[in-house]
Amino acid sequence: MGNFSLRRLFRSLLIPILAVITALIVGAVIMWLAGDNPIAAYKGLFQGAFGSARGWATTIRKWSPLLLTGLSVAIAFQAGLFNIGASGQFMMGTIFSVWVGINFADMPAIIHVPLAISAGILGGLLWGAIPGILKVTTGAHEVITTIMLNYIAALFAGWTVYAGGSQGQKPGPLWDPAAKAISQTPPVVESARIPFIFGPPYRVHWGIALAIITIFVMAWIIYKTTIGFELRTVGQNFKASKYAGIRVGWTIILAMMLAGALAGMAGAIETLGVNFKFAPEFGGSVGFDGITVALLGQTNPFGVGLAAFFLASLAAGGAKMQFDSGVSSDIIQVINALLLAFVAAPAIIRYIYRIRKSPEEQETTPKISWGG
């Protein structure tokens, strides 16, 4: 069997690898057309991510949120659900964790840090549960509800730290009066901050260890527990899962809660390990990046880990790339988008490289049901 599984491993890696290569090539062509030097850009990108200790530190720092949001999207995919809501869940995780983080100043770190992270997980979990419950009870499709909930979460988070207006508008409950007119929370107290593995200037914190452990936990849940079996069965074959006696509705809600919890955890770790406060501009594109990461990683937790590392290195190398080659780091989003397209439609890669689809090969793209 040894040979057989090696071949299968190669087969399952072929499309993602070709997708990465193709995305980089198309990205290079775009840069070349725009009059930039793609070779210098990629060189800068690589050096920025891996060329120095600080580069490595940045890559690792950017790894955990991508990894966790990627896992969030992936676990939903496993259950046949499309979680576009990772950014909203991330936001709620941030808000919950920051609330715990700025309060309870006299709590020992050993309790405070886990408590704040758990709060973040809870925030994401609750926010993720909403689309799950809506889907099961009313049939509302999770894609629409999660998109809408993203905006609601961002506005809600914005309100919590709103500095108030000069026309008598009241400030939000988490606003830091010391920040005067600036809308942000007070800094998270020392005891709630995730300790550094490598302190300044590297600022690599233990959150990454937590994220890596989460890979194993998720792999364990997905592949080694009855819960994972139920999630996957619902995702693969809705009818068969009813036949198998699985409580389909509950499983869908659970999958969305898990997805939310992971994204919420990402928010908590970013807040308690990197930003130490919340301001409305800390949102970014985590949600969309999570989709790319999940698909590139073939929704397998370990694959997601690798894919997130790749995207983190792109993000980390961006500054150096711009510094060295003058190429705007906006090109990275273009590469991410292309990557998403190529992994989501293996047909394109097969078409370009004339790869035949072997009969027993399964589609790598997850099945998502619409309207059902």
Binding site: M1, K224, T225, T226, Q236, N237, A240, K242, Y243, G245
Partner: protein
């Protein structure tokens, strides 16, 4: 049977292969002007495939079609429509949210000078057509609001609106009430009188004998006979349709029925389309006996099994398993507490997850029980060991327990499902179409397994549209017709003929 006048439609040597299946095998067919030709055959005999080829929806692998003596090149239904062929599909091809007029003109729209649809003109034409053929419809009604019988009229008008000379009616009576069927037959006669030629597809003997001029019987994709209502009887047709070549015999001891395991009382349920599919079904199955449920597909058997196993909700009535009321209990309660097994009719949809390994498929509905799970952890070695044992015991041909279930052959997939369902201690076995689409070797194996379960004292409910299978295995035979059990016949009294008549809705003692 060759006549001087050219047939309006002639089908020559049509063969259609789908991956792994030959749906039509060298089929020849002629249709004369003004004739009603009945195409008779069981489900899966290849009738619908043949009609879809004539209608240009499928391309034949081999063979030719002639319309009015000219060879027809058909690439899409457009070509067929242009040649005057119209088809009323078994599943109506109507857009539910649109009106009758919109549906009828779709693809053949009438447009005013200003570019807008001329609904008025179309409505007028529809009124004319409905008047001429007594096809009463309101052009402005929405299709989703109409009863099925009226929807069918819309389909017929749709074909006539396109000036069809040849009408293919694919199982038109399957969804109609007896009154509606009568109405349909009147319409068909009227169409015939106006010179239209009709191909009428059915598996209902009475109807075929009543309405058609000529009958062609299809079995296993081949034409197996041709006759006229004058020369045929229901018995003869039933024999032709069901065939006698593959008669499987199973050695079995006489039954020794014990306590009642499954009792169904006045069960009512709706189909997925929301129509009543079960109209008060009652029966009992005892320990150590096989109750075979015969019937033409679509008479409520699927719903019956789904309701008993709780995949579908019962509207009314009771399902009692081992003395306990399990109506609308969870599927898991039925399987695990009710100690029952279910070999589902559609194994791809329900019975297995094709991307899962054979090992995982073998624990699909028992993964949560020891030794496969301890708490929430899955014990993979136990699952693999279980798989290895069952693969051996049930002779599932697979490269290994980790091969994806979907990559096995149909017969081995079914053996995999059977292995899972038969290998645990059970009191009740529900097997729906257990041998559909699999090879003879596997059929034999599965039949023997079912009998040995019976002999162990398990109550078996066997649902099959294969009459041979029912005859070979059952101790008693229940025949379903239109959502009801029309009769339950002890095996000794059952013959192919009397069961065939019951399947066609003819009660014992009733004159044809």
């Amino acid at each position: 049977m060759s006549k001087d006048n050219i047939p309006v439609l002639e089908v020559k040597h049509i063969t259609k292969r789908f991956p792994g299946v030959i749906a039509n095998d060298d089929v020849n067919l002629t249709l004369q002007k003004g004739e009603i030709l009945a195409l008779l055959g069981e489900n899966g005999a290849g009738k619908s495939t043949l009609m879809n080829i004539i209608y240009g929806l499928y391309k034949p692998t081999e063979g030719e079609i002639y319309v009015n003596g000219k060879k027809a090149e058909m690439h899409s239904p457009k070509d067929a429509i242009a040649l005057g062929i119209g088809m009323v599909h078994q599943h109506f091809q109507l857009v539910p949210v649109m009106t009758v007029a919109e549906n009828i003109m779709l693809g053949a729209e009438s447009v005013k000078k200003n570019g807008l649809l001329d609904i008025k003109k179309v409505s007028k034409e529809i009124s004319e057509l409905s008047h001429r053929y007594h096809l009463d419809v309101d052009p402005s009604a929405k299709v989703e609001d109409l009863p099925v019988g009226v929807q069918q009229r819309v389909e017929i008008i749709k074909a006539l609106y396109r000036e069809a000379e040849i009408l293919i009616l694919d199982e038109p009576t399957a969804v109609l009430t007896p009154q509606e069927i009568e109405g349909l037959f009147e319409i068909m006669k009227r169409l015939q009188a106006q010179g239209k030629s009709i191909i009428f597809i059915s598996h209902k003997l009475k109807e075929v004998l009543y309405i058609s001029d000529r009958i062609v019987v299809l079995r296993g994709g081949k034409v197996v006979g041709e006759t006229t209502p004058q020369d045929a009887t229901q018995e003869k047709l039933a024999a032709m349709m069901v065939g006698r070549e593959v008669i499987l015999t199973v050695d079995k001891a006489p039954p020794s029925p014990g306590n009642v395991v499954l009792e169904v009382k006045n069960l009512k349920a709706k189909s997925d389309l929301g129509e009543m599919a079960l109209n008060g079904v009652s029966f009992q199955v005892r320990e150590g006996e096989i109750l075979g449920v015969a019937g033409v597909q679509g008479n409520g058997q699927t719903e019956l099994v789904e309701v008993i196993t709780s995949l579908k909700k019962a509207e009314d009535g009771q399902v009692i398993i081992s003395g306990e009321d399990m109506t609308n209990a969870s599927p898991r309660t039925i399987t695990q507490k009710g100690q029952s097994s279910h070999v589902p009719e559609d194994r791809h949809a329900y019975g297995m997850v094709s991307t899962y390994s054979v090992a995982d498929n073998l624990v699909l509905n028992i993964y949560n029980l020891p030794p496969f799970a301890k708490g929430i952890t899955i014990n993979r070695p136990a699952i693999i060991k279980h798989a290895e044992e069952l693969i051996k015991e049930f002779d599932v041909r697979t490269p290994g327990p980790l091969t994806p279930g979907g990559s096995l052959s149909g017969g081995n997939q079914q053996k995999m499902v059977v292995a899972r369902e038969f290998s645990r201690p059970i009191k009740l076995l529900i097997a729906a179409q257990p041998t559909r689409g699999i090879d003879v070797g596997s059929i034999e194996f599965i039949h023997n397994q079912i009998v040995s379960k019976r002999d162990e004292g398990v109550a078996v409910l066997l649902v099959s549209s294969e009459l041979d299978e029912i005859m070979a295995l059952s101790d008693r035979i229940a025949v379903m017709y239109k959502g009801e059990i029309i009769d339950i016949v002890p095996r000794e009294e059952a013959t192919r003929e009397n069961i065939g008549l019951l399947m066609a809705g003819v009660k014992r003692g009733e004159k044809v």
